[in-house]
C-alpha cells in the first residue's frame, strides 16, 4: 500500500473491556514496531517484529498487552481488561529491513485509545 495504515483511528473503551488495534504495514516491509504515545510525550517502544517473529517485547507494560503478526504482514495489538492508564495513541511503524540500522521507520496515523 501507499503507507502504513491503522484501524480504528479512534477507540473508546470502558474500563475492563478488551480492545484490538490493527496495523497494516507497507507491503514488503520486514520490520514492524508498536509504540505508545501518552499525551504530551514522545512515543515509547512497546514491541518489535521481524516478519512473523516477535523479537523484542521488552516495552510491553504488562501481561495485559499482547501483539501478534502471524503471517508477517498485518499486526494486531491486543489489550485485555483495559485500564485508564492505557489511554494513549498507539503508533505502528514499519521498515524495509532490519540489518540497515539507519533504515527509515514509516509511521501510521495512530489509534487514539480512550478508556473511560
Amino acid at each position: 500500500g501507499a503507507g502504513v495504515s491503522q484501524s480504528p483511528r479512534y477507540k473508546v473503551a470502558k474500563r475492563g473491556q478488551d480492545v484490538a488495534l490493527r496495523c497494516d504495514p507497507i507491503s514488503g516491509h520486514v520490520s514492524l514496531f508498536w509504540y505508545q504515545q501518552a499525551l504530551g510525550q514522545g512515543p515509547e517502544f512497546l514491541t518489535y517484529f521481524q516478519n512473523e517473529a516477535q523479537l523484542d517485547k521488552s516495552g510491553l507494560p504488562s501481561d495485559r498487552f499482547f501483539a501478534e503478526r502471524p503471517e508477517g504482514s498485518v499486526s494486531t495489538l491486543k489489550i485485555q481488561r483495559t485500564q485508564q492508564e492505557d489511554s494513549a495513541v498507539y503508533l505502528c511503524a514499519s521498515s524495509l529491513v532490519f540489518s540497515y540500522s539507519a533504515d527509515t521507520q514509516y509511521f501510521g496515523p495512530g489509534t487514539r485509545l480512550t478508556v473511560l
Binding site: 503507507g3 520490520s31 514496531f33 509504540y35 504530551g40 510525550q41 514522545g42 512515543p43 515509547e44 517502544f45 518489535y48 523479537l55 523484542d56 521488552s58 516495552g59 495513541v89 503508533l91 511503524a93 532490519f98 540500522s101 539507519a102 527509515t104 521507520q105 514509516y106 509511521f107 501510521g108 496515523p109 495512530g110
Partner: protein, 115 residues
C-alpha cells in the same frame, strides 16, 4: 540507559526566518543513529533527517540541517526559510543497533510558524 532530552517544549518562528531546535542525548556507545521526526496535527510521524554517529559531516536535507556535536552529545535541528507547513511537533530520536531495536524519543518541541 539511553535518554533523549528536548529542553524546549515550545518554539516559534516568523515565516521565512530560521529556527534551531535543540536535542541532547545520553549514551556510552560510540556507534548509533540520530533522527529528527516531524509530527503534524494529523499525527503521522515523518522522518525529517537522520545522522550516523560515525559521520563527522552534518546531515542536510534541503532547508533542514543538523548540528551534530558528538563529544557534547548534542544534535540540534536547524530549519531555514521556515514555512507555514513546518508547524508541527518535532521529535528527536536515538537508535543503537547494539542495544536493542527500539528508538528512544524525546518529549518533543512544538513549533509554531507565525505568518
Amino acid at each position: 540507559a539511553q535518554t533523549v532530552t528536548q529542553s524546549q517544549p515550545e518554539m516559534s518562528v516568523q515565516e521565512a526566518e530560521t529556527v534551531t531546535l535543540s536535542c541532547t542525548y545520553d549514551t556510552s556507545e560510540s556507534d548509533y543513529y540520530l533522527f529528527w521526526y516531524k509530527q503534524p496535527p494529523s499525527r503521522q510521524m515523518i522522518l525529517v533527517i537522520r545522522q550516523e554517529a560515525y559521520k563527522q559531516q552534518n546531515a542536510t536535507e534541503n532547508r533542514f540541517s543538523v548540528n551534530f556535536q558528538k563529544a557534547a552529545k548534542s544534535f540540534s535541528l536547524k530549519i531555514s526559510d521556515s514555512q507555514l507547513g513546518d508547524a508541527a511537533m518535532y521529535f528527536c530520536a536515538y537508535r543503537n543497533p547494539n542495544t536493542g531495536n527500539q528508538f528512544y524519543f524525546g518529549t518533543g518541541t512544538s513549533l509554531t510558524v507565525i505568518p
